[in-house]
């Protein structure tokens, strides 16, 4: 039984169907990537998992519990936490306060303090800027803060939406190595990316999404070598 299971999920924006029968598994300890072009339904998939939207048909279960119709605040409480698309920091709060907001559902003060420390070890830049206002960070630092904030909820599943978007190549490298690091510490990651090459390198398994349908699936390595994927997403 996988940790997260989507089965035949359909989702609509008004009358426009964004997902058609999407089925995805994320297992314990895995990094799973969801790749595809703009408008393929990657972000919609994350939104249905995190409860910001609900599927019209199909089911979502997490830890053997049906979460298809559960609201977003409860989902976070269950342990699914995401760094949303466009980072969505609290721009006028300090780095520290943003991290504290990430721990909103928790009440164990010593645990929160030690997790802030853990985030600062992962992202030393954030420690230097802990009292700076989040809106004044650079793009890379903001992405680090978004990931750190998501980690503060002690997620059982971390979902990252386009973590490399708009970052300089060297920072993209850093971000992905941190994804690997977070995963090696035991947190499963569901990764949505347009940067298919990087995502497939990091991912244990991956799904290719095209206009709301899963068209291909396999291990990261298999997809990197697949002719279709190479042609469509890797520019080879």
């Amino acid at each position: 039984m996988a940790l997260l299971e989507l089965r035949g999920v359909d989702a609509f924006y008004g009358r426009i169907q964004a997902l058609r029968g999407v089925s995805i598994d994320v297992g314990q300890g895995e990094v799973v990537a969801l790749i595809g072009s703009n408008g393929a339904g990657k972000t919609t998939t994350l939104r249905t998992i995190s409860g910001l939207m609900h599927p019209t048909t199909g089911t979502i279960s997490f830890n053997d519990r049906d979460i298809t119709r559960v609201g977003p605040d409860k989902i976070v409480g269950l342990g699914i936490c995401q760094s949303p698309e466009g980072r969505r920091l609290f721009p006028r709060m300090s780095v520290n306060d943003n991290l504290m907001m990430g721990a909103f559902t928790r009440t164990d003060r010593p645990g929160i303090a030690s997790d802030i420390e853990r985030v600062f070890v992962l992202f030393p830049r954030l420690r230097e800027r802990r009292n700076q206002i989040a809106g004044t960070l650079s793009g890379g630092e903001q992405q680090m803060l978004a990931m750190g904030r998501a980690l503060m909820a002690r997620p059982k599943l971390l979902m990252l939406d386009e973590p490399s978007l708009g970052l300089a190549p060297i920072l993209v490298e850093t971000i992905f190595s941190i994804v690997r690091e977070i995963n090696s510490q035991g947190t499963p990651v569901l990764l949505v990316e347009q940067n298919a090459h990087k995502a497939l390198e990091v991912a244990h398994r991956a799904y290719v999404l095209e206009t709301g349908v899963i068209v291909q699936t396999g291990t990261g390595k298999e997809l990197l070598e697949s002719a279709d994927v190479q042609k469509a997403y890797l520019g080879m």
């Binding site: 910001l52 605040d73 006028r92």
Partner: protein
């Protein structure tokens, strides 16, 4: 003197004085304590004390609206409706009004009970208003609250078999102290604030009451601001989607902002009904909502000390500076030998008449100037201050980043 110095440092007085808001609170508290004594001594009557008590109603309203607008970032243009609900709750159950209603029985419930009833009734209506509007944001929410603010006074006007409609509700009961709260402040002696345990129309008694209510409200709101709920409000104001992603129940949090904000207005309404003795539907028009909003924005949205100062400043401006401007100008021109300016002549209406006509133009100009010169308010919250300070830096960085990206 080492002993004195250690006491000094133990109290951390220096740090506390350096803290701007604490200093503002301190000054306000001292002024509030000295005000009645000083003004009665200086002028020989209680006019200024009763004016200050009236200003206190506005302070309570502004502190309450600040929860909705300043903390949670929900624009409420119908705040006067809750004020009306609080005032009418008290007026109906503490006067002879219900005797002439279909109920045929007048109630005279004690003020202290109705203070809390008014608070809860207003909070309930806050939640009722909040419920259908939770999906709305920004401008749309503002329009719905505006509608609510128009509907409520109309209801009180048109349900005249209950509320007396345009005739208003008069001879509302005065609060009285329970006889067991005895002390030098009650009883029949000369220094009594509450003579014979009844507030009657004594401005000093109402002044003491409103100061106590405000202190209570400020302590409550300050604690709310620092609580988990306060942080949730802040997160929603910053970014609602991100707040939901942090596990904040945005529906409950916003409902609580509306209900808690409204409850202070209900509180103020009950006080207003008692101190004024008359509740009429035209005391709760749109201009009341807007004035409270101006107080909040001008004082410094989100910062309680700033909002109190804003409320006092606007009240003073409207009810003292501008209203006495015509008379002051007239006597000034007489005094400096330009008395002929006061005579109307053709198109010239005379100086004091002109000032009378231009009062609200001046008010508008002052507001525009204030917002241009100090957009963050008189005493802004720290977050807004930093935001304005860093806004330039952020823009520069974004430009640099974009240059790198392209």
């Amino acid at each position: 003197m080492p002993a004195a110095r250690s006491l000094w440092s133990r109290l951390h007085l220096r740090e506390r004085i350096r803290d701007r808001d604490t200093a503002v609170y301190g000054v306000l508290l001292i002024v509030a304590l000295v005000w009645p004594m000083a003004t009665i001594f200086a002028t020989g009557d209680t006019f200024l004390t009763s004016q200050a008590a009236h200003a206190g109603t506005w302070v309570l309203l502004a502190v309450g609206l600040n929860v909705v607008v300043g903390f949670a970032g929900l624009l409420d243009l119908g705040y006067a409706a809750f004020f009306a609900i609080g005032a009418y709750s008290y007026a109906l159950f503490a006067s002879f009004q219900l005797a002439s209603s279909p109920l045929h029985h007048a109630y005279h419930l004690p003020f202290w009970l109705m203070l809390f009833v008014g608070m809860f009734v207003a909070a309930a209506f806050g939640a009722i208003l909040g419920f259908p509007t939770l999906r709305l944001r920004g401008d749309y929410l503002a329009i719905v609250t505006l509608g609510f603010g128009e509907i409520v006074p109309q209801l009180f006007l048109n349900l005249d078999q209950w509320t007396g409609g345009i005739n208003a509700i008069g001879s509302i009961d005065q609060p009285s102290l329970p006889a067991w709260i005895t002390g030098p402040w009650a009883g029949a002696n000369d220094i009594a604030i509450v003579r014979d345990f009844n507030f009657s129309f004594d401005p000093v008694a109402y002044y003491v009451l409103i100061v106590i209510l405000i202190i209570g409200a400020v302590i409550l709101v300050n604690n709310l601001h620092r609580s988990r709920l306060g942080r949730a409000w802040m997160a929603i104001r910053e970014d609602e989607v991100a707040a939901a992603a942090m596990g904040i129940n945005t529906v409950t949090t916003k409902l609580l902002a509306f209900a808690i904000g409204a409850s202070f207005s209900g509180f103020a309404g009950a006080y207003y009904g008692a101190s004024f003795g008359l509740v009429s539907p035209d005391s709760f028009l749109f201009v009341v909502s807007v004035t409270v909003l101006v107080m909040v924005v001008l004082g410094g949205m989100g910062n309680i000390a700033g909002v109190i100062i804003g409320a006092i400043a606007i009240y003073f401006l409207l009810n003292s500076v501008l209203s006495s401007l015509p008379a002051n100008l007239q006597s000034l021109s007489n005094a400096i030998g330009l008395g002929w300016l006061n005579n109307s002549n053709g198109a010239w209406p005379g100086l004091s008449e002109l000032a009378q006509r231009l009062q609200f133009l001046l008010y508008g100009l002052i507001l525009v100037l204030m917002m241009l010169l100090r957009p963050q308010g008189i005493f802004p919250s720290r977050i807004r201050e930093q935001e304005l300070k860093h806004a330039v830096a952020t823009e520069e960085e974004t430009v640099v980043e974009q240059a790198h990206a392209s």
